[in-house]
């Protein structure tokens, strides 16, 4: 890396080398049986330069091929965007624990046992269900060096457990599932299967709804599929800078229900999305996004922050390309109302666990519309059964302007979101049948 930096400094004003390597071991079960053990080693290096004021960028998996990497970066710098930022000088980083050597040393045999246990619990409850399970361990090392002397590095461990079950009766298909991840080994399969067993219980009977507006409770997984894609885009500093975020001009204004609090937090110990610094070497911080329904701030990397005349929030991420503002992990603060109390408040309505396709509409505008892949009908305060062939639509900004209640129990969903259930007074529901 030092060599790449030295070579790049010869041809450019500024340079930054970013290297990430990982060793991942997924153990996969299919159709209730062990099917696949994999081992994936990968390394990649990215070089960002500033030459004649413009940004050049290249990546490679061949860490020894320095000249080619430098040449590629130089070639792109002729056309690159003008750099408005300064790379970080040496700085101190918060101590955030994200590495547990016990992950790396967990034997594959133990992972096989955990997967088998996940399946045994679910098939023990519902014998004719077919499950896919995955147990995975991953170790990631990251290092950043730049021409201003800035340098950062960390090592992270991730362990995950997941199970998905499909239950087919005639042409009716039910899909249930849950996954959890941590920087520690996960050794309690029941914490994962508990969610799945509850889904199976609630979906035992079928129910139907007519096309109309209904009150809807989004479970933590429902919040993730219906609301989060729009919010992640709207709070991205780049969307705001372009004027394409519906809340871009509303900093300090009441846009959401006063019960709503949202922040981005990469500093929680032993969470897979935590890290001491972002992908440009800026120290991690917790960034408040919504406070009592008021828009509090947006997420920035270096370049976007410079263009917006503000400072980086330490939210730079790289998805194989140049750094860009990216959320680390969103947290919605829990409210006062237990889930059961929300359900008992509803005369006729829905509980939504999974909204399929909701992220494929105009999420920039906040619209969501999806098929209820897993959801339940509530009648007179009780969940009576599963609904299907039903669409639910709404707009995030209208929905979150006034919510009936925010749940008191928060859960992690997919590692990137911690949220309680959210009870919405009305969403539009379309179903087969009358209109």
């Amino acid at each position: 890396m030092e060599n790449v930096l030295a070579q790049a400094k010869k041809v450019a004003e500024e340079a930054e080398v970013f290297m990430v390597s990982s060793e991942e071991t997924p153990v996969q079960f299919e159709a209730n049986r062990l099917k696949h053990i994999q081992s994936k080693q990968s390394t990649s290096m990215a070089l960002r330069i500033i030459k004649q004021g413009r940004i050049g960028y290249a990546t490679t998996t061949e860490v020894g091929d320095v000249q080619n990497l430098v040449n590629n970066a130089v070639e792109t710098a002729q056309f690159g965007m003008r750099a408005k930022f300064e790379l970080p000088s040496p700085t101190t980083y918060p101590q955030i624990d994200i590495f547990d050597p016990a992950v790396e040393s967990t034997p594959v045999e133990k992972m096989v046992e955990l997967g088998a246990e996940l399946i045994a619990i679910v098939t023990g409850h519902t014998p004719d269900i077919l499950c896919e399970a995955m147990v995975s361990k991953d170790t990631i090392s990251l290092r950043i060096l730049n021409s201003r002397g800035g340098q950062a590095s960390y090592k992270k461990s991730i362990f995950s457990l997941g199970i998905m079950g499909s239950l087919i009766r005639d042409t009716d298909m039910l899909f249930v599932g849950e996954s959890q991840s941590s920087c520690h080994p996960l050794t309690h399969p029941r914490e994962v299967t508990e969610v799945v067993l509850q889904q199976l219980e609630l979906a035992k009977n079928q129910a139907s709804v007519l096309t109309r507006e209904l009150p809807v409770i989004l479970t933590p997984r429902g919040v993730a599929s219906a609301l989060i894609p729009s919010l992640m885009m709207a709070f991205n500093g780049k969307t705001v800078l372009e004027g394409a975020s519906p809340i871009g001009g509303k900093l300090g204004k009441q846009v959401f229900d006063p019960k709503l609090w949202l922040w981005d937090d990469p500093t929680i110990a032993y969470r897979p999305h935590s890290r001491p610094c972002d992908d440009e070497g800026i120290p991690s911080q917790r960034t408040s996004l919504i406070e009592q329904g008021v828009v509090a701030s947006f997420l920035y990397d270096l370049q976007t922050a410079a263009l917006a005349k503000t400072r980086s929030t330490g939210n730079s991420g790289r998805g194989g390309g140049l750094p860009t503002p990216s959320p680390s992990a969103f947290t919605i603060a829990p409210g006062q109302t237990p889930f059961d109390e929300m359900v008992s408040d509803i005369k006729e309505g829905l509980v939504i666990e999974q909204l399929m396709g909701a992220e494929q509409g105009n999420i920039l505008g906040g619209d969501f519309s999806g098929n209820v892949l897993l959801g339940y009908k509530v009648e007179s305060g009780k969940i009576v059964g599963r609904v299907k062939d039903t669409m639910v639509s709404g707009n995030v900004y209208q929905v979150l302007k006034e919510v009936t209640a925010i749940g008191s129990e928060a859960e992690w969903v997919g590692g990137f979101l911690q949220t309680p259930p959210i009870y919405c007074p009305r969403l539009s529901v379309a179903s087969k049948g009358l209109r």
Binding site: L130, G365, G370
Partner: protein, 457 residues
């Protein structure tokens, strides 16, 4: 850049020294370049090179898989894959027999990476200028990417196949905003490395930008069931989501219930309905000569005259279902094992003209262009980039983009008209099991679906 051919020769030799029911290895070297614009400015331009490989081993029905960037110590990778497979395997290995193949397949076109970045940028600048000539526009996104890839496939059967492929994709979108209301329209294109496929789009790009502005004053449809007419692009996404994924045998082969439902001969649609998947049609984004298990590409009828007649297979799914392999095992890169995937999937054209299709619709929805789509097998959703009401047999006012949903066991049966105007869309990418976007193409003529559920207010 390292040449993978030397490593290929070493691996071919090394494989012979290990004992497993089956071993295969893949080496890959690729180059990629990309240019993105956000708003008036070029946002990023970059180049990437990658070299890597993998070894997959089968022992008593269990698979081991090892992927790597470093090409040193290849025998150890084979050893680990065999060891993992041995730990998994407790049954009998089953793979459909295929003949070993020794072949070298060159690209049809020169690599798009030989075109200077300046020339690519020039074209994108022209498109961006057109977008920005449209008044009231808030922002735009243009994402261009191209790649060239060379792969070497080796197997313990004695196969040794070298293939090269190029790929180009371009996605443009225009965003209009007014009073906190944000609307967007997109355009997606792709090709097998042929740069001319994305040239000369000045008029569609202009229409796209104007349509984004028009959507600000367009109404949203009322949710419910409608007679829906899909254009060839969206009907292509529909056939991919609604039926294509269900015909991928890895979902079916170890699932007895699904095998009963997906029994050959089952009626899914009217006798006018024919659905095909083929990688053997040259020049499309889903085309190839051999799949990633070294099996030659075929043309597979999935539905013929409304009945289920075939499905897509890997060597393992074919063997376990006692059917012939179809050459549909694909891996997006060396980081993943091959799984059963679609290639170029389409509804065959019939006789009806577009005017005849909409002539007797009193109130319906005409949905065009794609935004996205997904499936759970039984139920699926697909979203249109553009939508219009149909009133009394005519295309009427523009609507905000619509999301449509269906159920495979009823929706295909509700197709009651198939057009005569087949068109293949090259702009899509398919995702499955973490492997995305895989280059595929989809196509169809215009189709009419009765009682299709549309989301709305």
């Amino acid at each position: 850049m390292t040449d993978i051919e030397d490593a290929g020769r070493q691996l071919a030799e090394a494989i012979k020294g290990y004992s497993a029911d089956y071993i295969e290895a893949r080496l890959e070297q690729s180059q990629r370049s990309y240019i993105t614009y956000r708003g008036k400015e070029l946002e990023s331009v970059g180049q990437a090179t990658a070299v890597g490989g993998n070894v997959r081993a089968l022992v008593r029905g269990g698979w081991g898989f090892v992927s790597f960037n470093s090409l040193s110590d290849l025998p150890r990778r084979i050893e680990l894959a065999v060891k993992q497979a041995t730990l998994v395997g407790k049954e009998e290995s089953k793979l459909a027999p295929v003949e070993p193949v020794v072949d070298t397949v060159a690209t049809e076109k020169d690599s798009p990476l030989t075109i200077p970045l300046a020339e690519k940028k020039q074209l994108l600048d022209e498109y961006n200028d057109i977008i920005w000539r449209t008044p009231k526009l808030q922002t735009s996104v243009i994402a261009y990417a191209d790649s060239h890839k060379k792969t070497i496939f080796l197997s313990s059967l004695g196969s040794s196949i070298q293939q090269q492929r190029s790929d180009i994709s371009l996605r443009l979108s225009a965003v209009a905003a007014e009073d906190g209301d944000v609307q967007q329209v997109g355009l997606s294109l792709g090709s097998r490395g042929d740069f001319s496929a994305i040239q000369g789009l000045h008029q569609p790009v202009e229409e796209m930008a104007k349509h984004a502005i028009a959507l600000l004053s367009a109404p949203q449809v009322r949710g419910g069931e409608y007679t829906v007419v899909l254009d060839p692009v969206l009907a292509g996404v529909f056939v991919h989501e609604a039926f294509g994924h269900l015909s991928e045998s890895d979902f079916v082969y170890e699932n007895d219930r699904l095998r009963e439902i997906m029994v050959l001969g089952r009626k899914f649609g009217s006798p006018e309905l024919n659905i095909v998947d083929t990688a053997a049609m040259p020049g499309l984004r889903g085309s190839y000569k051999y799949d990633d298990e070294g099996v030659p590409a075929t043309k597979t009828y999935l539905i013929r005259e409304g009945e289920l007649v075939g499905r897509l297979h890997s060597r393992e799914t074919a063997a376990k279902m006692n059917e012939a392999p179809t050459g549909n095992a694909r891996a997006i890169s060396y980081l993943f094992p091959p799984i059963v995937r679609m290639t170029n999937t389409y509804i065959e054209p019939s006789k009806t003209s577009f005017d005849e299709i909409i002539a007797d619709i009193k109130e319906g929805v005409y949905a065009k262009n794609w935004f996205g789509g997904t499936t759970s097998m039984e139920m699926f959703t697909f979203s249109a980039g553009e939508a219009y009401m149909i009133r009394n047999g005519k295309v009427a006012e523009a609507l905000r983009p619509v999301m449509l949903t269906g159920n495979v066991f009823t929706t295909l049966n509700n197709i009651d008209a198939i057009g005569n105007d087949l068109d293949m869309n090259q702009g899509g990418g398919c995702g499955k099991a973490g492997q995305m976007p895989l280059p595929v193409s989809n196509g169809s003529p215009h189709i009419r679906i009765r009682k299709c559920l549309v989301g709305g207010k």
